[in-house]
Every structure is written in C-alpha cells, then in structure tokens.
C-alpha cells in the first residue's frame, strides 16, 4: 500500500481525534489548567515558601517540570483510552476495521491524537506556571522536547492497550486511579528522590515515571536525580515494549474482532 494512502488514512484519524478533544475542550483542556493552578497555589506558593530550595532551585521552580509532565502523562493516557474505548463501545471502530487501514497507522493516528492533546495541555500548564514563577529557563531544549514527546507517546500507547482490554468504562479509570496517579506522585514530581531514606530511594528508582520527570526537569532546569542518558533509554525501551504489545493486540483483533 502506498505512502500517500497511509498518509491520508493517518491524517484522517489524527484530524478525527483532534476534533474530538477540541469539541469537548471544557472536559479536556480546562481541567488541567485548573488542577495545575491549584497545585502551584498550594504546593508552590503556600507550602513551597516554607520548604525553600530543592536540588538547589526554589521549590516553585523545581515542581514546574514535574507538574507539566504529570499533565502530559494523564492527558495522553486518558485521551487515547477514552477515545478508543468509546469507538469500541459505539462500534465505530468498525469503520476503520472494514477499511484497508493498517495496524501501525491506526496506532499512529490514536497516539497522534494523544500527543496533540498532551502538547496543548503542556503549553497551557507552562503558561499557568508563568504566573507563579519569575524565571522559567530552558537548559536543554532538545532533551526537553524529546522527553515530552517520548513520554506522551508512551502513555498514549499505554492508554490504547488499556482500552483494548477494557470491557466497561470503569476499566479505563482503574489504571489511572490505582497505578498512574500513585506512580506519578512517587515519581519525583514534588521532591528529589535523593531525600528518600536508603531502601525507599532504591524502590523509587524502579518507578519508570521517575526517569521521565527527571529527564524533563533536566531539559528545563539542568538538574536530575538520574542519568539523563539512562532515563531516555528507559523511556525508549518502554515505548518499544508498548508499541509491540499494542500492535500484537490489534493485529490479533483482541477485544475488537470476534
């Protein structure tokens, strides 16, 4: 099948996905702005002033990259999970299944939708942070962009895998509530893992979100609890595993073909 065909199909899925989350912008784009404003007010302004510095930076400045990454993770995940599950639930996924759209194009289209929403939310949260932080400097733009794109792709793929297995709407909220949120909170968004006592620091380093938050923080502030090369390697490895999983599931028709 030609590249032009694949590009048209990919563009169609991507436009459809973007149209979907933009149509319901009050549900998709406004809540992250409100939530992150509250985080900045409570953890940054009120609690942060008493904390002082973290990793040699004012606490408010320290949490900015983590909060942006937190928004990126939750929005990438929930966008793809809810969109793909709704398509399954309403059976309009069949529109794609009867057409000659290849599995990688379907995956890329949905991931593209997740990326678009996550990037818009990241810009919104960054703008919100300007109201609280005087100097938002960028230490390494390349690492910053690469980390945010890879992380968003990773969680878009994870959301897709969740939606493939989900049978009810409850099933797509279980992972964010019981897995994603705890891992994000323990992933160094609000603190440096070097503050954790011995064994807890070792445990914390098993959490993949720690590597994403720190690589992103390095891109912003130039500080990180982990080696940035290792962090990027971990993110790429997870991306590969999740892509192969999503591809295998869709190719076999798990949850979508009888």
């Amino acid at each position: 099948m030609g590249a032009a065909f694949n590009f048209t199909a990919l563009k169609t899925i991507w436009i459809k996905e973007c149209t979907r989350f933009l149509r319901i912008w009050v549900q998709t784009l406004v809540p992250p702005a409100i939530t992150m404003t509250l985080y900045f007010v409570i953890f940054g302004s009120i609690v942060g002033e008493r904390i002082g510095e973290m990793s040699g930076r004012p606490y408010m400045e320290f949490i900015v990259p983590g909060l942006i990454m937190m928004s990126v993770i939750t929005n990438s995940y929930s966008n793809v999970a809810s969109s793909f599950f709704s398509a399954k639930f309403q059976r309009n996924i069949e529109e794609m299944l009867v057409a000659p759209v290849s599995t990688p194009v379907i995956i890329a289209g949905y991931v593209g939708g997740g990326l678009a929403r996550a990037m818009i939310v990241a810009v919104i949260v960054t703008c919100v942070s300007f109201a609280f932080v005087e100097n938002v400097s960028i230490n390494h733009l390349g690492i910053l962009v690469l980390t945010v794109l890879l992380t968003s792709t990773l969680f878009s793929l994870a959301g897709l895998i969740n939606a493939v297995y989900a049978k009810t709407f409850d099933d797509i909220s279980i992972v964010p509530t019981f897995v994603l949120t705890p891992l994000t909170y323990l992933g160094g968004v609000f603190f440096s893992v070097s503050l954790l006592p011995g064994v807890w620091e070792t445990i914390a380093r098993v959490n993949p979100i720690l590597y994403m938050v720190n690589a992103f923080r390095y891109g912003f502030l130039g500080v990180s609890d982990v080696n940035v090369g290792v962090a990027l390697g971990v993110i790429v490895a997870f991306n590969l595993v999740f892509f192969v999983t999503a591809y295998t599931l869709l190719q076999r028709g798990v949850g979508i073909r009888s």
Binding site: M1, G2, A4, F5, N6, T8, A9, K11, T12, I13, I15, K16, T19, R20, R23, S86, A87, Q90, R91, N92, E94, E95, M96, L97, V98, A99, P100, V101, S102, G253, R257, S258
Partner: protein, 315 residues
Amino acid sequence: MKALSIKQLRKTYKGGFEALKGIDLEVEEGDFFALLGPNGAGKSTTIGIISSLVNKTSGEVNVFGYDLDTQLVDLKRQIGLVPQEFNFNQFETVRQIVVNQAGYYGVSRQVAHERAEHYLKQLGLWDKRDAAARMLSGGMKRRLMIARALLHEPRLLILDEPTAGVDIELRRSMWDYLEEINKQGITIILTTHYLEEAESLCRNIAIIDQGTIVENTSIKRLLATLNRETFILDLARDDDAALTPQLEGFTMRQVDEHTIEVEVEKSQGLNPVFEQLSAQKINVLSMRNKANRLEELFVDLVERGRAKQTTAGAK
C-alpha cells in the same frame, strides 16, 4: 467474474457455538443477491467474515478474485458495508462521518468532500450535513450508513437489513436507489427479513439456516417451485341473501361474513374459483395473497432443512 466466492467457510465462536458449518456461496458480478435466513442463521457472521470484522475458523473467501487471507487490503477496497446496527460516532456530524470514512480508504480530503456532497444529495441528507448524527431520524441514519459505504466507490455493496425500522415510503425510495446503483454496475448483497424486499429487488437468492445453505438459486426458479398459494377473497352479494360460498375441489375457510381463504394448487388455477362463486351469484370485490409468495417458500425450505438435519443427527 465472481464478485464473491466462498468455499467451505466455517466459524466456531469461543464457547463452541458453530455459526457456519462449511458454506459454499458464489455471487456473480453485477448481481443483486439476497441472503436470507431466520435470526441466528449465520447471515451476519458470513457478512462479518467477508468484511473482516469476524475471524473465520477455516475456509476460503474471495472478492473479485482477491483472497481474504493473502490480499486483504485489495479485498477491503472492493467492499462497502452497511451494517445492521448504527455504528457511527453519534457526536460527529453527517459530513464528518462520510468524509472520515473515505479517508480510511485513502481518498483525499478534497475528493472526499466532493463525493460527500454528491452522495448526501442523492440520499436526501445534504440539508443535514452539519447536524450531529444523533439528531437524525432512524431512516436518515440508515441512509447515512449507505452514503458512508459508497464514498470510496466500492464494487460490492453489502447491506445487512438496511430497511429495518424504516417506514414504507422511505423503504420504497431506498429500493429505487439501490436498484439504480445496481444498474450502474455495483454488485449488491442484501440480507433482509422483508421477503417482499428480496422478491422485488433481487435476482438470486441463498437461504441459510443453522449455519448451512439450504437453497441457492434464482428467485424466478425458486418461485416456480411454489405449488400452492393461499388467497384471501373479499366477497359480496347483489341481493340480501346470506353469504355462504361453497367451493368444490378447494380447501376453503370462511374468515368472517364477507371474507374467505382459499388454497389454490398451481395446476388448478383461479378460474374455477371465480366461476363457482359467480354461479352462486357472489361477487369478488378484491383478492390478495395471504402471505408473500417467497415467505411461504422460505418457511417451507427452512423447515425441510431442519428436518433433514434432525434426521441426519438421529442417524
């Protein structure tokens, strides 16, 4: 050329239910073909496999020479599917639904918009192009699914009960439209519960029951096998005498004071009925078939098929 060729197609669902027990089916290019069967007979499974929504257990499927196993992409391009249930995103607009569907087939957005205008106008949906699909009436939703299936200009259109729940006027206009596109060269496979629909639209027919094809022939040939029909006659007398018709050589049942049901063998013809009634000074005001002719055959074939399977099972 064969538009569709199915050989020994089998489908066993998880849990062991055998929906298709090795069916063979061929549909010629340009045909208007009816696939009939009672609920749960295997019609939707067959259509699901052809359109790759259902994984087959074994067997071969070819569409215009393209093999389902080895040339899936080319095969999919040939088919337009109108499923039984509404399966579009209810929150998208009519135009978004059809344009997106074309995009999945690699049709550029500009061409898709042009075709969308053409088909939506033909199907009377152009005024609703920017309305959300959920705001459409049932009949409009059915027509939207036909427009969506046609946008990539398939050679084979498969319609799974397209007129279910559609009022008579709209059903007739859909029949006209389907006949028109069939004349333009699109092969059509139709499943329906309205046997009148199959009789008036289709040239060839397959009847499927319990996962096996019990009949596969032309509608004309099938109707020629009908030996007996039941007619309902509305009667009246010129005088005030009681209406007590007598028909020798026919099985007759008086439904009410002015209506009778008469079973007529093909060899008998209707003339003797009219002659006898006329001799009794009874006028026939109107006459109609008790059931659709195809319906009588359908019931008969399905019953015979089941009896055959029961006998084979007992052996």
